[in-house]
Symmetry: C2
Subunit: 449 residues, 2 copies
């Protein structure tokens, strides 16, 4: 018991969340039962048993969740929110046909600041309803994505996209960088948005541009987020063009380090896993997307055993087709077991850590988010474990990972604000989302075939 | 236009389902739009455009589903419904520890006719709400499962379980067989329940018993359903004990044939796939369970290319932990692409066929169920494709497979009767399911550790 509260009136706070279970996502921390999260402004100011909390705190906004588990807001470590309206636009196709005949023509036809804002708002709505509070994005027009994030009330790390190829957003690598820095400046002082430089991939970015990116990332003290070793083709193309595999090229350029997050990492040699580990790099594992595009299965058991920090991402809706972290967490855990033929690998609590604290580390935000701890931001999600079709529940964390779906999320708080609850958004009208679909789907459909 | 209806009053029928889309699951059949299913008694008597249907038929029970797709009821090709209350009782463990320290002690403690009825009713509720209308089960006390099925109003093929090991249900293989035949006789005349003989696995059933099973299956004209090549251990154990791999042993005994359905088939040599194909055998692919137990990944791309008939199953809730065919269909399609590194393998329509018509073939029920065709039983499921978080929808079948979840199922009809709709069951009270959990979970929990 906290002595300062003895014989004192309870302290008035902004929000109290009382829950049957609380999984903090702190490594080796026990599951807490009948626990309360005390929130003042945007932060968690106390964590204590509900019995104690009721004697020490009071709030006009007290939410009691008798059949629920609280977890840290999920962090989707690799997204292209601006592609959300291309969900299912082309499935079951070879990668190059998918890109050349469907995705790129559709992008050329519609991608604009307006389109990216609308698609990103739709993605934010999808993610909030599935318990995702923060995402690590990479797409054109990041200021438009930022506008959507501000409306939705989410948190994000936005990639300042760079490639050598012109499109409606930028003309060349320097133009991409210039526009990226303007974006970065535009959200300075916004506590909900941070930046990475996001070179698209080794096959679309030159050595000269990568060298500039390293310099700028150091100057701005921000991370680097790129696609890496997603497909065998990417690797053989690099061997032809550069004489080395992409990761060797990036290592030689000096790109690898603790501020470097690579999406995918499907095809990695043991020596390359050691290299990632040695440099303190991070992997955004995207299991559904890697399977769906026929890329393969990333060796995450080996990565985790070798202390590579692995988070989980959905990738964009054109290659998943759900921005659903519950599906990805379950699949990441199951796939690791199946491939390694070891059912003890990636146990449920580790899968949850990948989707929360590991991702926060990758973004350099682990002092703010990724776990439920005093002093961190109140990004908290409630999941109801008692729906009859998913009963009984013996172990709440394993239940969360192997049994629940995103449809069991009931509340999503970001920075202490309730942004989604039981089908409704604080700042997004369902009609606005419908109008977004009605506006863009016909334009996109023209480029489907 | 059907001339018989010209200038005639519309025909009164039992049920008309009008839908925006209809996927029949007939091979190479196009997706139908604005179509109606006309039901009389338990069967589909007509299929025609909604415009025509409105002039030709009338029904007091007309359901209009403007944003939905109709599909044939899903068929779960490998279940242990009686294990539904052991969902998540022990996760992230090696197989033998899982069985010896958790599953078998729990089973010894509770398995009885009462327990199996209750757990099976819970499984039926879970399956109906997720669009499953028929399942291929294997567990003790099948008459208790039949009682649950009759209450729920589902369809099932029940395994007459056989092993050499005594338990509360039977003393030895002959006793299992005897009890199985009593069960089989008990549901004669019940159009919703059929039987297979279900020897548990090659490692729990002797040659002598397998030989009897072949004879009895022939006499009764019923199928055989067993576990096969689920783990590497099973195979090496057979090599030690019998000098051959399990499938070779079963082939030598004469077990393989068009009435033989093997669950799993994770570890199969190319020659063994040829053997399954040559004998017209069926595989019940259980991707989640195979991954979760660390068994591996079944080579279904190769099986399908070699014309092995492959259906999809969830396995029991102790190893999945969802009896959710949507998750399994999606995973089957994605996993096949990822393992083969070919995104064109198992396209969406084929994944749907695996979960419907292929499974019906495996059960010898493809004259009755597995597709939406005139003359077949009206086992029909409606899925709403328009929920905002899963929008937009470009291709309804790919949307169904890659984007939807079981939570988007709105109606489940079995034999023309609406058994589940929007959270409610025709014949199961939520309170009954809650009481089942409250009754059995404490008894099962005692044996968790």
């Amino acid at each position: 018991m906290n002595l300062k509260h003895l014989n004192q009136a309870p302290t008035e706070v902004d929000l109290i969340i009382e829950a049957r279970w609380l999984a903090t996502a702190v490594k080796n921390a026990p599951l807490l039962e009948h626990y309360s999260v005390i929130v003042q402004n945007d932060a968690i100011v106390d964590l204590l048993s509900t019995a104690l909390a009721r004697s020490q705190y009071t709030s006009a906004d007290t939410v009691s969740l008798d059949e629920h588990i609280l977890i840290p807001g999920l962090i989707n470590l690799h997204t292209h929110a601006g592609m959300n309206l291309m969900r299912g636009i082309a499935d079951d196709l070879p990668l190059m046909q998918w890109l050349n005949e469907h995705i790129w023509p559709a992008e050329r036809a519609v991608v604009s600041s307006d389109y990216v804002r609308d698609a990103s708002l739709h993605a934010c709505a999808e993610m909030l309803s599935g318990g995702t509070t923060c995402f690590n994005d990479m797409y054109f027009f990041p200021q438009a994505t930022a506008a959507a994030i501000n409306q939705a009330g989410m948190r994000a790390n936005l990639g300042l996209f760079v490639s050598e190829f012109a499109n409606s957003y930028a003309n060349d690598a320097d133009d991409y960088l210039q526009k990226g820095f303007e974006s970065h400046d535009s959200w300075r002082g916004n506590s909900m948005i941070s930046s990475s430089i996001a070179p698209h991939a080794p096959y679309t970015v030159s050595n000269r541009t990568f060298e500039k990116i390293i310099t700028y990332a150091e100057q701005l003290s921000i991370g680097i987020h790129t696609h890496l070793h997603e497909t065998r083709d990417e690797i053989s193309q690099s061997e032809t063009q550069y004489g080395v595999r992409p990761i060797q090229r990036l290592a030689a350029l000096g790109l690898l380090g603790p501020n470097f997050t690579a999406a995918h990492g499907v095809h990695l040699l043991p020596s390359e896993i050691d290299m990632l580990s040695g440099h303190g790099c991070h992997i955004a594992h995207c299991p559904s997307s890697n399977l769906k595009l026929g890329s393969g299965i990333a060796p995450i058991s080996s990565m985790l055993k070798n202390n590579v920090n692995v988070g989980i991402g959905t990738d964009g809706a054109a290659s998943n087709n759900r921005l659903d972290m519950f599906t990805e967490i379950r699949l990441a855990a199951l796939l690791a077991k199946g491939v390694s033929e070891d059912p003890t690998t990636v146990p449920a609590h580790q899968a949850l850590e990948m989707a929360t604290i590991n991702a926060a580390k990758s973004l350099g935000l682990d002092d703010k988010i990724g776990s439920i701890e005093i002093g961190k931001k109140a990004d908290v999600v409630a999941i109801k474990l008692s729906d009859i079709t998913i009963s009984p529940c013996y172990d709440p964390i394993s239940h969360l990972v192997y049994t629940c779906g995103r449809e069991h999320v009931t509340h999503t708080w970001v920075a202490g604000e309730l942004r989604y609850s039981n089908g409704l958004y604080a700042n997004i009208e369902p009609m606005e989302l419908k109008e977004i679909i009605q506006k863009w789907q016909p334009k996109l459909r023209q480029h489907k075939q």
